[in-house]
């Protein structure tokens, strides 16, 4: 490949770059790590965090085109370049706040391209900061944009739009139409996320206030419900049979079983717990009473509630097998287990009460 011919001034800048390349690489890695740790610490999930140090070839190309513009290497701000790609448009601002806290932003040279568009134009949207740190003499660039803005920018780049080659007006118009559409999609994603967050808050408030009959049973509401410890009392009672320790585990697997038992609201689950707690306890006493097993998991409470409800409603061994298939996956041994529980339960008071 032909090296671009550089004048002595540009050649001096290029030599300065070569001399400082290890420092650039070290600094880029440090900035990358700082950003990674900060975003993770703030719970900000991003699609990508890219970091690169400009190659000598790329810098030489830049100098060949507009080297006269730069007095020294310090005037070139993109030797180190980072790009943070977010899922949501709102997160671009959050990421920007984090960057502002971490580094000194050169506001004169930073651009918020999101604000540059006129009301009747669409196109590349990105937030672009030129930053510095006191212990490093060179500036660096951080670009922040959403996944969709990133996709559009890449597609746009592929058309050669910026290469000076004239692209037919029709294609440019199509690209801009696409930019407008992606902007709307980005907005919709953010709105959906906000709606889901609001729904979760509302459900949490309803759960906390005890209006459980009004709360539909779904993944979010059930999760909030579990924070109230609805099975704790039963688990403690069962544990007392053998003075067992209780291992806390996730109880999310039981939500589909409660749904299958016709629970439509959290209030229905509460009723089910009240109705079958005694039977669930009887079953545990029968099974554990003659053993020395002194450890149980917190899923024993909901498991036995469901077993009792299935048996009392007459769903028999088939119902139990379906429950075990649901919570632990389909296994041949589930049928035998179901039949054994059914047989055990025949001796228990709850199966013999009219």
């Amino acid at each position: 490949m032909n090296e671009p011919k550089l004048d002595p001034h540009c050649e001096a800048i290029l030599q300065e770059y070569r001399d400082n390349l290890p420092a650039f690489q070290e600094k880029a890695a440090a900035i990358h790590q700082t950003l990674k740790d900060t975003l993770a610490g703030a719970g900000l999930l991003v699609a990508a965090l890219e970091c690169r140090v400009k190659t000598e070839e790329s810098l030489a190309g830049k100098l060949a085109l507009k080297g006269g513009k730069y007095a020294s290497l310090k005037d070139i701000t993109d030797i180190i370049g980072l790009r943070i790609i977010t899922f949501y448009t709102d997160d671009v601002d959050k990421v920007a706040s984090a960057v502002e806290r971490l580094f000194t932003v050169d506001w004169e040279n930073s651009v918020d391209k999101r604000k540059l568009h006129e009301i009747d134009s669409f196109g590349y949207l990105s937030l672009h900061y030129v930053c510095s740190e006191p212990d490093f003499p060179f500036r660096f660039e951080i670009q922040m944009r959403t996944v969709l803005q990133h996709a559009w920018a890449n597609m746009n780049h592929d058309t050669g739009y910026k290469s000076g080659v004239e692209v037919p007006r029709e294609h440019l118009r199509n690209l801009n139409r696409l930019a407008g559409m992606l902007e709307l999609v980005d907005e919709q994603f953010s709105r959906i996320r906000m709606d889901i967050t609001n729904y979760r808050r509302k459900i949490q408030a309803l759960v906390a206030s005890g209006n459980l009959d009004e709360v539909p049973l779904d993944g979010d509401s059930y999760r909030s419900f579990l924070q109230l410890g609805p099975f704790d009392k039963l688990n403690r009672r069962i544990a007392s049979v053998n003075q067992a320790e209780i291992q806390e585990v996730s109880l999310l697997a039981y939500m589909p079983v409660f749904k299958a038992l016709s629970c439509k609201t959290l209030g229905d689950v509460v009723k089910l717990i009240k109705e079958h707690s005694e039977a669930a306890y009887q079953l545990a006493c029968y099974q554990l009473g003659l053993t020395d097993l002194d450890i149980i998991s917190s899923s024993l409470g909901p498991q036995n509630i469901c077993i009792a409800a299935i048996l009392k409603r007459g769903f028999g061994a088939e119902g139990l097998r379906l429950m075990f298939d649901q919570i632990g996956g389909t296994a041949g041994g589930n049928q035998a287990l179901a039949e054994m529980i059914l047989e055990q339960a025949q001796d228990l008071p709850f199966m013999n009460q009219k």
């Binding site: 099974q287 020395d292 002194d294 450890i295 498991q303 632990g328 287990l337």
Partner: protein, 102 residues
Amino acid sequence: MEVKIVTEGTTTTVSFIGRLDTPVSQEVAAKVEPVLEKADGIIVLDCKEMSYISSSGLRIFLTVRKAAAAKGGRVIVRDMNPDIRNVFMMTGFLNLFEIQEG
């Protein structure tokens, strides 16, 4: 109780042969401990030749599960006989593990 450990690629199979009861549990736990280092892969707890499991045995299984959860690995409990499966059920351990049958 005999414990056999075989690692192939990212899968480590721990086979328990005999009774995993309280008297042997410390020795078994010591044998299983090095396996926890590999908890970022797949750990198969093979119960095909296990005839009994006590609370101490369940605690060993729980330790493996916790290590795998911390390291993003997978634990499979394989080939439990009906008695062992019953112990898992009546302690609420059944849905804590991925269960496979041979």
